[in-house]
Amino acid sequence: MLFQANPKERLKNVLLQRYRRWLGRRLPAARTITLEQRRLFIFPSRQGFLFAVTLLLMLLTAINYQNNLAYGLTFWLAMLFIVAVHFTHANLLKMVISSIRVKSVYPGQQAEFVFRISCTSARRGHHAVKLVWPDSEVLVDVPAGGEVEVSLRHKVVARGWFDPPKLRIESTYPLGLLRCWSFAYFDSRALVWPRPLEVDRRVSPYTENASYGFSEHEGLDDLMGFRDYRIGDAPRLIDWRSHARGLPLQTKLYSLPVDEDHWLDWHDFSAGSVEQKLSWLCWLVLQHHRRGESFGLRLPSFELPLAAGDRQRDLALRALALHGLSRGEVG
């Protein structure tokens, strides 16, 4: 492909690469970012250009009428613009942004990144700061010496690691004539689990086992109670009747025969693509965890010993999420 690209295209690529490297040197990714001098860019905003046109008209009026007061007002506003450069710049200067929390999610959901913005100065806060992602933005004020937490969401589509796109931090405060901005890449990423899918009986050995059937054998089991709906619960277990009455989603719990330890094995699935198998395993992991059972997980290149509890679930989901992805990205 590279050979087919015309010289212009190639030059553009080279320049883009150079620009990215320069940006990388200027704005290294980190967990916590301080907007220092070299990170901040400032340029007149659209309104700033309109202001400049107004000033030009005012100057022409002053010249044509040889009116000193008109000169004075024009120069005053022009110098106000210069002063505004510093105020706008100082508004963002040394603002500290930390990525403090990322929630793991399933594909198709919005990954939530929580940032903490703090102001190191006890005298001047940061006003009207906008954090922008392509389809999510938030506008905050940071009081002097204080800090605020904001969350931004980004839609994720595929399992594995989700690296957040570059975050644009910008502000036009106080006059709106200039826009000061910075880009930040954060060394924090969201883990995206496989999408849980109910096991297809035709391909799975687990359906033979009574403990996994919910359709036909359901009636035989005693309804034990309810608990709050969690992502991954099968729709048929949801108590739709109560939901229709306006209550939050509840999942029905059935008492099931106490079982021995479960090994969830990749190789037990006779059919299905890699992603399907991962989705089924994901569903199974969630089922076992919900019932408080201990389970183990066998993947082609990974084995998780038998255990129970939240940590076991997380380890299993993580292994499923990262299965087959290049080692470097397993992190």
């Binding site: 009428y65 040889q66 000193n68 004075g72 110098m79 036009t172």
Partner: protein, 649 residues
């Protein structure tokens, strides 16, 4: 519409206040219905804000626009000219307010407001007007601040403070730029003011013309003297020379009426120390200037007419300052041409039969011109003539007969008219001079303030060998008018100052108020001559005075120096208390290694995860390279340190 693009509700109030504030000083120039439009749109917009009214539809807005333009055309009869254009701007701003719903409409309104402020300066450049514009600018900048606040922030009242702070910081740089910016002439010609509602002298004289000026205490001009101010009786500010009598009216001779041989100015011989002063004339919409005879001006654009008066080519629309040098002893036009003599002795015969007979008698007694003039003045002095602002009106063509032998009550122009008419009947070259006499001396800054009620008319007669001599018949009737000033004679008379009810001049009897009035007038004169009248000549003089010579490099240095002087302390002040966040030691080590990688051409691209950097390094660096090994450790440490926070349930 995204919420962030909406006009913040708080700034709407500020915008309405701003719009009305910038419109108010224009009230003199615009028809009153524009104010009604302003109030109506403001009210409507407020109702929209309170969700009680709908925004007018597109067609209605278009209709309103057309209606506004039509009304304007009906009010002014034209769109050309300064007043209609300003009115158009104001109507546009008012209608824009109605449809201001987005943030950028707010910006547009603010910028429009700045421009309206500038147009105000075209009409007036006085100190109060300037201060008011400064106030408006403060409001407009505050509106800008409110446009940029986040919606959640509480109204803390610090917005005006911030606006003022920023504006104050801009002042020193503005002053330097003001002083250094080259003053070039107009690039193209611009519409001027129509000058309606001006009080001031007109270029013709008929009985009653000057009298009406006695009702006004408006300032006509101020003159700042370099040395000692002459006594009041010597302060005859010559403005117009009225040589031609036509249909009961005295008027000046136009340049095109002069024969070719008469168009050359005969400069008089100047002897002795001249009087030097600077006059700042209020706008008159006329083409003549005032000065004490014989006056010369060094100011560019001021010419001298053959009858020794100063003039300019274009009407004075704005305050105009000019420097004058006067020689009191100079004899004007020592020799008179036949044409000139014929002109200056021309008066229609048979209009005033009584006076003509009386003058003939008197002329027989006094054949010498000087004796005849003295006898005439003596007649005025001895007979019961009265000096009054409210003389009986004489409309018949035999004005001189009626005045001399019947009413005998008149203002200066009545006396000058009759006096000159009688001299011309006697064959003595004479003419009326109109201008101002006297003025109030302000000792605080050595100026003379001349007001409209100081308007005066007197006579000039031509005496062989000496040239034109000033003779004031009013001085014979009311000597104190000349000695003490007009207010000494007329104060308390009905009509005096009747047009200036609220003028500070009325309160000159109260000592502290009078001192304040004089103080303010001195300030206004300084403002006029140093700020408003700052032109290229003054600029060059001032800069030469300070720097010795004009050198561009110094000016650039001064400009940048002023910026640095303001902006560097500002930067330090804005940054006080701000600390830099320290990187973790692991992060620091990694960054340092990345710099070394960069030296070997393997720098990180923007946002590259550290592990990817490591992999890239492994691919490109030789096996066992020290940099790679160090990098591996660093990345491992980095991940160990930061791993726990990166994930969660």
């Amino acid at each position: 519409m995204i919420v962030g693009e909406q006009l913040p509700r708080r700034s709407l109030i500020w915008l309405i206040v701003c719009q009305i504030a910038v419109m108010l000083p224009h009230l003199q120039q615009i028809p009153f219905w524009i104010v009604v439009i302003y109030l109506a749109t403001a009210l409507w917009r407020l109702q929209m804000f309170r969700q009680r009214a709908e925004m007018p539809g597109r067609w209605l807005r278009l209709l309103l626009g057309i209606a506004g333009a039509t009304l304007l055309f009906m009010s002014f009869g034209t769109f050309i000219g300064l007043e209609p254009m300003v009115a158009l701007l104001l109507v546009a701003a008012a209608l824009k307010l109605l449809e201001a719903i987005r943030e950028r409409d707010g910006y547009l309104l603010v910028f429009l407001g700045f421009f309206i402020c500038v147009t105000h300066f075209i009409f007036t450049q006085t100190l109060p007007a300037t201060l008011y514009s400064v106030f408006c600018t403060g409001l407009l900048v505050t509106a800008l601040v409110t446009l940029n606040q986040s919606p959640g922030s509480r109204c803390s009242g610090h917005e005006p403070l911030l606006a003022l702070k920023m504006l104050a910081l801009a002042i020193p740089m503005m002053v330097v730029l003001f002083l250094l910016f080259p003053r070039i002439g107009p690039i193209w010609s611009v519409p001027s003011t129509s000058g309606q509602g001006m009080t001031g002298m007109s270029d013709f004289l008929r009985p009653g013309a000057v009298t009406k000026l006695g009702r006004s205490a408006d300032v006509a001009f101020r003159a700042g003297f370099a040395g000692v101010i002459p006594k009041k009786p010597a302060l005859y500010w010559r403005g117009l020379v009225l040589s031609k009598f036509e249909e009961g009216t005295w008027r000046t001779l136009q340049w095109r009426e002069l024969p070719g041989s008469e168009r050359q100015l005969v400069a008089p011989e100047t002897i002795g120390d001249p009087l030097r002063y600077r006059v700042v004339l209020e706008p008159t919409q006329q083409r003549w200037l005032y000065g004490i005879a014989y006056a010369e001006s060094s100011t560019a654009g001021v010419y001298e007419a053959v009858d020794y008066r100063l003039g300019v080519l274009n009407p004075i629309e704005f305050q105009f300052g000019y420097d004058v040098t006067s020689w009191g002893t100079a004899g004007l036009q020592p020799s008179l041409s036949d044409w000139r003599r014929g002109l200056e002795t021309d008066f229609p015969k048979g209009l005033n039969p009584l006076t003509e007979a009386w003058v003939k008698d008197l002329r027989n007694q006094f054949s010498d011109d000087r004796d005849f003039v003295a006898a005439l003045l003596n007649y005025f002095r001895m007979q019961p003539f009265y000096y009054t602002l409210e003389p009986p009106e004489i409309l018949s063509p035999d004005f001189v007969d009626k005045f001399m032998f019947d009413s005998r009550r008149g203002f200066c122009e009545h006396y000058a008219y009759s006096f000159v008419a009688m001299l011309r009947m006697a064959g003595i070259p004479a003419r009326i001079v109109a201008g101002y006499q006297g003025g109030e001396v302000n000792p605080l800054n050595n100026t003379v303030v001349v007001r409209q009620f100081d308007a005066h008319a007197w006579a000039e007669i031509w005496v062989g060998g000496a040239g034109w001599q000033r003779v004031d018949p009013t001085a014979a009737v009311a000597p104190s008018r000349i000695e003490l000033g007009i207010e000494a004679v007329l104060d308390g008379q009905p009509g005096f100052l009747s047009d200036s009810v609220m003028s500070a001049y009325r309160f000159r009897g109260i000592k502290i108020l009078n001192w304040m009035r004089l103080r303010y007038d001195a300030l206004a004169f300084g403002w006029q001559s140093f700020i408003v009248g700052f032109d290229s000549t003054r600029q060059i003089d001032l800069l030469k005075d300070w720097f010795g010579e004009i050198r561009v490099s110094w000016f650039i240095a001064l400009l940048l120096g002023s910026w640095a002087g303001v902006l560097i302390p500002l930067m330090l002040w804005l940054n006080r208390g701000r600390r830099v966040h320290r990187l973790l030691p692991e992060e620091q080590r990694f960054s340092a290694l990345c710099l070394r990688l960069d030296q070997r051409g393997l720098g990180r691209t923007f946002g590259e995860p550290p592990l990817q950097t490591l992999r890239r390094a492994r691919r490109h660096l030789p096996e066992g390279d020290a940099l790679y090994l160090a990098l591996e450790h660093a990345v491992a440490d980095l991940y160990r340190r930061t791993r726990s926070a990166s994930e969660g349930p």
